[in-house]
Amino acid sequence: MTTISPTMSHRQTEHQDSNPVPAPPPMRVAIIGAGRGGVALLDALHQIRTIQIVGIVDLNPSAPGLKRAQELKVPVYHEVADLITHQELNLVMDVTGDPAMESALRKTVPTGTDVVNGQTSRLLWLLVQHESTLQTELLHAEKLAGIGSFAAGIAHDMNNPLQLILGLAENLTDETDLEAVHLQAHDIIEAVKRTTAICRDLTSYSRRASLRQDCLMSINGKLDEALKIARYAVALQDIDIRKLYQPDVVVKGNPDELLHVFVNLITNAVQAMEHHGTLTLETTATADATQVRVTDTGSGISPELLGRIFDPFFTTKPPGKGTGLGLYNIKNVIHHMNGTIGVESQVGRGSTFTLIFPNETVAGERSAQS
């Protein structure tokens, strides 16, 4: 029997299988048309390990899919022939909806390469869009399910100022010292402001992730915001929080979704420590990538479970305590941001989740902004 040293560190990214079976060669796919359909296909297909997008082509140089392809490091072509010949393609996906393209492809696509076009192509696009809607709904459902665990934290933070307000108001009914009346009235106003801030934070967090376009945001700011929300779900008072922030680190994405990612990672980390330990939040930006690390000194994850933590509905929590969708949703959000997520863990020592976002798009946006 093989035993694994408890101090041995194990790594896992969502790209690794727990069971290393030789992977079949990837399916080589070309996309014709870089309009809305092309963008949707790029976004969906680039997340699938067994698919390699060989390139995308569009005669319109300002087609949105070409910009997206550059962000995803997918080769961009301007001539259909350049893309579909000599590439050993398995599949050509024509999403132009142009009958002329359909007949042209029939003549030029080499034997052995399949072509998807016309209504089949449209059906695929609809399925991809539907899947994207489902993912958004799933993220929201999981977020709302998690808010149930905020009850204790919300009650604590609401009822404490309410106790102050009630106690002071009762005292004011027979307080004769005018200076004391003024001071206590001021304390009541401040306590009311604290309770309204709690409601504001939570309503903002619980809303559906906005559909607005991705934007550049401060990672450090989002981590701080997430800490504020996470403290409703888990007690942070006995956690030593270390922030190793590199200043002005930014990333492009949906702010609501990234906040949800950070709240989940922080909540998981604190739960792993059973409310005592050190939580380290670290951000770094190099020329190549922006990196976020969330480290806890908790129980760690055993190597047998490490390969499954990003799977949907996988949970080690008792029934009713966890949906098993937290890390799965995190993985999807990070993928939409073209990033990766990985974990290193030592049983009994703790875990580190590392998020890496490629820097190319951030640098491009920065120079465009400046």
């Binding site: 404490n160 106790q163 102050l164 009762e170 005292n171």
Partner: protein, 144 residues
């Protein structure tokens, strides 16, 4: 009728009893002190379970502390741990829980352990005073 009188004298003034308020929120300690002070109690404060244990073990408090009002969710030593300590080491000192989170299971379990009252914030001054008065009666009975 018992001859025992729990009250004592502080700075020449009559005192109905000595109460320890354990809560991590200074505002809560402030209003509880305000309410109970008006009702003639001497009020001590502790910001968590650890400080509360230090306080009860300090000097005359060991003998003269009459009632403990304790929050649950606190740093370091939390309310549950502190209450277990008090029940074991000071079983005659009545305990009142004053918490921000109403939890029926926890309330049942704490009342079974001998906690006098389980109050949920925000609690009115009259209700708090009545609860402390009941605890004082229990304290006096414990001295019989």
């Amino acid at each position: 009728m018992s001859e025992f009188k729990s009250g004592f004298f502080v700075g020449g003034e009559s005192c109905n009893g000595r109460v320890l308020v354990v809560d991590d929120e200074p505002d809560i300690r402030k209003v509880v002190r305000m309410t109970l002070h008006k009702a003639g109690y001497d009020v001590l404060e502790a910001e968590n379970g650890e400080k509360a244990i230090e306080t009860i073990n300090y000097g005359e408090n060991r003998l003269l502390l009459d009632v403990i009002i304790c929050d649950i969710r606190m740093p370091k030593v939390n309310g549950i741990e502190a209450i277990a300590y008090f029940r074991q080491n000071y079983p005659r000192v009545p305990l009142i829980v004053l918490t921000g989170f109403p939890d029926t299971d926890m309330a049942t379990s704490l009342l079974r352990q001998g906690v006098v009252d389980y109050l949920v914030k925000p609690v009115e001054g009259e209700k708090l005073k009545a609860s402390v008065a009941r605890a004082m009666e229990q304290r006096e009975l414990a001295h019989l």
